[in-house]
C-alpha cells in the first residue's frame, strides 16, 4: 500500500494468567461457575479486607519479562487506579504505575522476510474487573467471579508500521506466553486481549499523529481488520483537511468498521497513588536466576535447533515449534526414531490431519510418540510401505494398538518376495493383453495402470519398488 502517511501502531496486551487463585485472594479463577460464587471480602472490595499478592503471579511476571528481554525491577510497587464503573467494586483497580515489574524489553519479528525489533515499554501486574451482563431492560447485572483475576499488561513501544507487523508481534507474544504456560492463550474467552493505538503522520514528520485506541478485539484477523480500517479512516480525514480526534473506538465485527465509544471520552484522571494495602515487591537476583532456569526452551531457540541440529527445512521447524506440545511430541518422536525429516513429515502430515479431523488437542492424542515410532520403524525396515503405514496409523488412532499387532492382525506385511510379485504381474499382464500391446507400442505412461492393477491385486501390500522393477522387466521382454 502506498500512502502519503506513515502508520504508527503501539499495542497493549492483557494476558490473563493461568494461576489457580486470584491475584490478591484465595478465590478460584475457574471459568464458567455460578455468578459471584467465587468471591470473598477482598475481591468484593468490602471494607477492611486486605489483599495479599499471589507469589505465582510475580513468578509468571518475571518469567514473561525474561522471555521478552526485559529488565526485571529489583523493587516494584502496586498503585491504585481510581475510576468508577459497576464492574469495579472498590472504585479503584490495583495495578502498577510508577515502578512496574518489567521494563525495556524487545521482541524480534519478521514480516515478509524483513526482521524487525519491537520494543516493549513495560509489563505490569494488575487485577481484572468483574463481568457486566447487559439485560434488555434498564438494568445490568454484575458477576464478580472474574474480579481480581491476575493479568499482565504488556505495553509495546509505538514501533509497528503496518497491521502485518502488529499481527506478527501479537502472534509472537501469544506463542511466548503460551509456551511459558503463564496463559492459556484463548483469545475468544478473553485470556489474551489486545488494544491497539493507531495513528498516522505525513512521511518525514517527527511528531506522532493523534491516535485512536481500538478496544475489544478478540481475534488476530479482527485486529488486522480493525487496524486497516482505522488507517483508512484516518487517511480520509487527513486527506480532507480534517483532524483526527483522540478517542477510544470499538471494532464492530459485523461491519468490519470501528466506531467511537462515546461516554468514556471525558479525560481520564486516574489519580494513581501507591496502594497502602500492598507492600513493595523486592525481586532478588537469585529469584530472577531461579526463574530463568525454569524457562522452557522458547520457540526461537527450538526453531534454530530444529534447523541447525536436526537439519529440518525452516518451514518445518516453524510449523513444529509453533505449538509447545507439538514441538515436545516431535522431540520425543525424534529421540525414538532419529530420522528427523521422516518424523517431521508424519507429525505435520498424518498426525496433524487426524488431530484436525477429530478436533482433538495434541494433549489428548491417542497415538503417543512411542506408538508412532513403532510405525516408522516398520517403514524403515521395509515391513510396510508408506501407503500402508497410513492405514496402520488410522487403525492405531481408532484402537490404540501398537503397529506390529495391527500389521499382524490385518495381514499388512509388505510382499517383497519376487516370486510372489512375479506371479501377480503375470496374471495382470494376461488379463490385460490390449494394454500390454499398447505399452510395448510406446505408450509408456500405461506403467501407472499396471502398477495400480498389481497393487489392487495385493491390496496395496506389494513393495512398490519391487513391483516397478518386475513390471519393467516383464513388459519390455
Amino acid at each position: 500500500m502506498t500512502s502519503r502517511y506513515e502508520v504508527v501502531i503501539g499495542l497493549e496486551v492483557h494476558v490473563q494468567l493461568t494461576t489457580q487463585t486470584k491475584i490478591f485472594c484465595n478465590c478460584s479463577t475457574a471459568f464458567g461457575k455460578q455468578p459471584n460464587s467465587q468471591t470473598c471480602p477482598v475481591c468484593l472490595g468490602l471494607p477492611g479486607a486486605l489483599p495479599v499478592l499471589n507469589r505465582k503471579v510475580a513468578e509468571y511476571a518475571i518469567k514473561t519479562g525474561l522471555a521478552t528481554n526485559c529488565s526485571i525491577a529489583p523493587r516494584s510497587i502496586f498503585a491504585r487506579k481510581n475510576y468508577f464503573y459497576p464492574d469495579l467494586p472498590k472504585g479503584y483497580q490495583i495495578s502498577q504505575f510508577e515502578l512496574p515489574i518489567c521494563e525495556h524489553g524487545r521482541l524480534d519479528i519478521e514480516v515478509e522476510g524483513q526482521p524487525k525489533s519491537i520494543g516493549i515499554t513495560r509489563i505490569h501486574m494488575e487485577e481484572d474487573a468483574g463481568k457486566l451482563l447487559h439485560d434488555s431492560g434498564d438494568t445490568s447485572r454484575v458477576d464478580l467471579n472474574r474480579a481480581c483475576t491476575p493479568l499482565l499488561e504488556i505495553v509495546s513501544e509505538p514501533d509497528m508500521r503496518s497491521s502485518d507487523e502488529a499481527i506478527a508481534y501479537l502472534k509472537k507474544l501469544h506463542q511466548i506466553v503460551v509456551y511459558l504456560g503463564v496463559c492459556d492463550g484463548n483469545l475468544e474467552e478473553g485470556s489474551f486481549r489486545c488494544d491497539a493505538n493507531v495513528s498516522i503522520r505525513p512521511w518525514g514528520q517527527k511528531e506522532f499523529g493523534t491516535r485512536a485506541e481500538l478496544k475489544n478485539i478478540n481475534s488476530f484477523r479482527f485486529i488486522k481488520q480493525a487496524i486497516d480500517y482505522e488507517i483508512e479512516r484516518q487517511t480520509d480525514i487527513l486527506d480532507d483537511g480534517g483532524r483526527v480526534i483522540q478517542e477510544t473506538r470499538l471494532f464492530d465485527t459485523d461491519s468490519g468498521t470501528t466506531r467511537s465509544m462515546r461516554g468514556k471520552e471525558e479525560a481520564h484522571d486516574y489519580r494513581y497513588f501507591p496502594d497502602p494495602d500492598l507492600v513493595p515487591l523486592i525481586v532478588s537476583d537469585a529469584w530472577v536466576e531461579q526463574m530463568r532456569r525454569e524457562l522452557p526452551e522458547l520457540p526461537e531457540a527450538k526453531i534454530s535447533r530444529f534447523v541447525g541440529e536436526l537439519g529440518l527445512p525452516a518451514y518445518d521447524a516453524e510449523v513444529l515449534a509453533a505449538d509447545r506440545l507439538m514441538a515436545e511430541y516431535y522431540d520425543s518422536l525424534v529421540a525414538l526414531n532419529g530420522n528427523a525429516k521422516l518424523c517431521a513429515n508424519w507429525v505435520m502430515g498424518e498426525l496433524q490431519r487426524a488431530l484436525n479431523d477429530s478436533g482433538t488437542s495434541i494433549a489428548d492424542c491417542p497415538v503417543t510418540p512411542q506408538l508412532l515410532a513403532g510405525i516408522l520403524k516398520r517403514i524403515d525396515d521395509n515391513t510396510i510401505s508408506n501407503k500402508i503405514a497410513k492405514t496402520v496409523f488410522d487403525a492405531m488412532w481408532q484402537s490404540g494398538k501398537d503397529a506390529d499387532t495391527i500389521i499382524e492382525e490385518q495381514g499388512l506385511k509388505q510382499v517383497t518376495d519376487t516370486g510372489a510379485i512375479e506371479a501377480i504381474v503375470d496374471e495382470v499382464m494376461a488379463a490385460n493383453p490390449g494394454q500390454v500391446e499398447e505399452y510395448r507400442g510406446g505408450k509408456e505412461k500405461l506403467m501407472g495402470f499396471f502398477v495400480g492393477q498389481v497393487m489392487r491385486a495385493t491390496k496395496g501390500k506389494a513393495n512398490p519398488a519391487a513391483v516397478n522393477e518386475m513390471l519393467k522387466k516383464k513388459l519390455s521382454g
Binding site: S37, P86, D135, V142
Partner: protein
C-alpha cells in the same frame, strides 16, 4: 491560592460528590489551607531520598497459589441493594 473552585469541582465530580455552592466555597478554602500547610515539605531537600511507597518497613508479603474457601454468592449478595440470578443488579451501563 493553591487551588481554585474549578479544581475542587473537578475532584468532587471524580469522587461522585454533589456539593452545594456553600460547600464548594468552604472546601476550596480548606483544601487551599491544607495544601499550603503541606507545601512546607518542599522546603526540605529530598533529592536523595527514595519516595515512600509504604509506611511500614515490610516487603514481599505473599500468598501461595492454593484455592481457599470463597464466601459464596448468597453471602456476597447479602447486602446488595438489588440482586437477581446470583448477580448484583445495577442501573443500565451503556458502552
Amino acid at each position: 491560592m493553591k487551588i481554585n473552585r474549578e479544581q475542587v469541582e473537578h475532584v468532587a465530580r471524580l469522587a461522585r460528590l454533589a456539593l452545594s455552592d456553600t460547600e464548594l466555597e468552604t472546601l476550596t478554602g480548606e483544601m487551599d489551607a491544607i495544601l499550603d500547610y503541606v507545601e512546607k515539605l518542599n522546603e526540605l531537600d529530598t533529592d536523595h531520598i527514595v519516595p515512600t511507597a509504604h509506611a511500614v518497613p515490610v516487603e514481599n508479603a505473599f500468598r501461595e497459589d492454593s484455592v481457599g474457601a470463597s464466601i459464596g454468592s448468597e453471602k456476597a449478595l447479602q447486602n446488595a441493594p438489588e440482586a437477581s440470578d446470583n448477580c448484583f443488579v445495577v442501573p443500565k451501563v451503556i458502552e
